[in-house]
């Protein structure tokens, strides 16, 4: 079966394998390394062509200070938070509701609705670029934060529903029957039984959606124009225009922008509790 372990005594193969893995990992991390390195270099050094060598002078503080003092990154960062956090919350709430109903309360046409949610994921969202932009213009939401929040909630809920529906469907059915027999309303069941038990799923979904929305560049430039609403991704592009030669500042801004998804991951990590449903039912 794949991947087959390499026997302990096959020294040559082991060395080759280790070498190959190391090479791939270095290649994989090289761009990140370059950005990190550049973000602590001075501009003069970059002009002089020292891209990969050891920095002669560390300008870590200066570069990052410049990001906040000389660019609008803080504004973009705030915009990104204003777009991403409501989107994530909206997606989590909607997909928990839809997932709960679709997994536990079958009704006429529920399978069709579920199929639509799933099928929608297969369409490349980009084909809706023009209609979505037109819609937002007509709604008077174009170039506002709402445009991006509404769009992301609408488009992420499809996948999120599939995710939550399957997770809730995997919970033991007798828990729901027990709650019902004890007089819990569907909403009480959702709040007191389902939500605590799907916490790991919600945490995973929160990270996925957060990362996707935070990193989105395409819809940011389709639906926004002014600096007052642009998220960080579109903002970084601005930076490049203004500071064509200041790659050290752009790199520092990039690192700054990449941090929130990492922070998000560590924040959500404690919710990944293995075997949360253990003890609910035997076996």
């Amino acid at each position: 079966m794949y991947p087959r372990p390499i026997p302990e005594n096959a020294k040559v193969q082991r060395a080759l394998y280790l070498g190959g893995v190391t090479l791939v990992v270095i290649l994989w991390l090289l761009p990140l390394l370059a950005v990190m390195l550049t973000s602590i270099r001075s501009n003069e050094e970059l002009m002089a062509g020292n891209y990969w060598g050891w920095p002669q002078k560390f300008s870590l503080i200066e570069n990052y200070k410049a990001v906040f003092e000389q660019t609008a990154m803080l504004r973009f960062f705030l915009n990104s938070l204003l777009i991403t956090i409501p989107s994530v919350i909206g997606v989590l709430i909607l997909s928990t509701l839809t997932g709960f109903v679709l997994s536990r309360y079958p009704f006429r046409g529920s399978n069709l609705i579920f199929a639509l949610f799933v099928g929608g994921n297969f369409l490349p969202a980009q084909i809706m670029m023009i209609p979505v932009r037109d819609l937002m213009v007509r709604l008077g939401l174009y170039d506002t934060i709402y445009a991006l929040v509404i769009f992301h909630i609408a488009f992420q809920t499809g996948f999120a529903t599939l995710f939550m529906r399957n997770f809730i469907a995997a919970l033991p059915g007798e828990l729901f029957q027990a709650a019902r027999a004890e007089g819990a309303s569907p909403f009480q069941t959702l709040r007191h039984v389902v939500v605590p038990l799907v916490r790991p799923a919600l945490a995973a979904l929160a990270i996925l959606v957060f990362t996707f929305v935070w990193n989105d560049y395409f819809w940011a430039i389709v639906l926004t124009q002014s600096d007052a609403v642009k998220p960080v991704t579109a903002g970084l592009n601005n930076l490049r225009g203004e500071w064509t030669s200041a790659w050290n500042i752009v790199s520092a801004a990039t690192i700054f922008v990449a941090l929130p998804p990492v922070v998000m991951f560590f924040m959500m990590q404690k919710h990944f509790v293995a075997g949360l449903t253990m003890g609910a039912v035997k076996g």
Partner: protein, 381 residues
């Protein structure tokens, strides 16, 4: 007034008739056990009483109130599930108080109810633990406690002991019986285990293929099964059945014979139901078979060879090959007869022996499976 009453309850699934016009009345404070093989509809019937399953036609009454259209939470029932169905993220106390909390009862009332239930079930030490920290027996007690706190009019148990090991099952059986005595509530208990049915029930309801086969006290059902299904279902080891032919049927009785068994006459039978040549079944319980020195004329007997011996200490179960005479529907499934002796026996495998029984102990089942033999006295308790 009866506590639970079912009137012509009918339930269909797609292409499957799960419950066929079930009529049943359960008295207040009764312990009723519904028993039957898998797929007989017993769990479905329990869930229709709970309201977890809808019914296609008929009525469900609880305490004289028609609850057919009511939600489970409004029916005054509490259910204990086979898998316990405890909420894993809540403590034992939170689990037991869940129903009252959902009904927004004052905290003091919830605490008092939880404390009382914990006392009854000896769970005081466990109240702050989570279900996964408990043993199987404790979890089952928490599930029962969760039912008690709501002080329901009717307790519903869906095979609550089948996930426990044998020793714990016996212990919980006793505890449940004494709990019933203590609370005096109506309890309806579903199981496929006929030992649980016999030991716990005030009345047993035997179900088969979505129909009630017979309702009665355990000993009544044991002594006077209405048909071959009930006769075969209750009793361990199971009843021996012999497929036989009617030789003659008249006012003096019905005479039957089978290959390997000389004709025997069973008296006091209404012979109008059968006529000579009909295929009938003779049933004889393992404990009614005994060893005889030699075949005496007049008492039915056959000879056979021991194939297997089960020593249980206080009793011995022998599986006897009596070919050409075949026992159908026997425990061994090989056509061997099952004999139960109330003592330790030195008989070993391969021993040849004579087996006899009294005609008064035999049952006769007609071609349609109904019992033809007259009522037998029920052992008094």
């Amino acid at each position: 007034m009866s506590s639970v009453e079912l009137r012509k309850v009918d339930k269909h699934y797609a292409g499957y008739h799960a419950l066929k016009a079930i009529d049943l009345e359960i008295e207040k404070g009764e312990f009723v056990v519904m028993v039957g093989p898998s797929g007989c509809g017993k769990s479905t019937l329990l869930k229709t009483i709970a309201g977890l399953e809808t019914i296609n036609s008929g009525q469900v009454m609880i305490n004289g109130r028609d609850v057919t259209e009511e939600e489970p939470g409004d029916r005054g029932i509490a259910m204990v599930f086979q898998s316990y169905a405890l909420y894993p993220h809540m403590t034992v106390a939170e689990n037991m108080g869940f129903g009252l909390r959902m009904a927004n009862r004052p905290k003091a009332e919830i605490d008092a109810a939880v404390k009382r239930a914990a006392q009854i079930l000896r769970l005081e030490e466990q109240l702050d633990k989570r279900p996964k920290q408990l043993s199987g027996g404790q979890r089952q007690r928490v599930a029962i406690g969760r039912a008690i706190t709501r002080s329901p009019e009717v307790f519903l148990f869906d095979e609550p002991l089948s996930n426990l090991d044998a020793a714990l099952r016996t212990q919980m059986r006793v505890e449940l019986s004494s709990l019933h005595g203590q609370l005096g509530s109506t309890m309806i208990y579903v199981t496929h285990d006929q030992v649980e049915a016999m030991t716990m029930a005030d009345r047993i309801v035997v179900l088969n293929k979505g129909r009630i086969e017979q309702v009665g006290s355990p000993l009544e059902l044991y002594a006077n099964p209405a048909n071959i299904f009930v006769a075969g279902f209750l009793g361990a080891p199971r009843m021996n059945f012999i497929e036989a032919k009617v030789v003659s049927a008249d006012a003096s009785g019905v005479s039957v014979a089978a290959a390997g068994l000389p004709a025997i006459t069973l008296g006091d039978i209404d012979a109008s139901g059968v006529s000579a040549g009909d295929a009938v079944t003779v049933g004889i319980r393992p404990e009614a078979l005994h060893l005889v020195e030699r075949t005496e004329s007049g008492t039915p007997a056959f000879s056979g060879q021991v194939r297997l011996v089960e020593q249980l200490g206080h009793e011995t179960v022998l599986y006897v090959d009596a070919s050409p005479l075949q026992a159908t529907n026997s425990d061994s499934g090989t056509g061997n007869f099952t004999l139960q002796l109330n003592k330790v026996s030195a008989i070993g495998v391969g021993a040849k022996l004579q087996v006899g029984f009294e005609t008064g102990d035999a049952y006769l089942f007609g071609p349609d499976g109904r019992t033809l033999t007259p009522r037998k006295p029920v052992a008094s308790t």
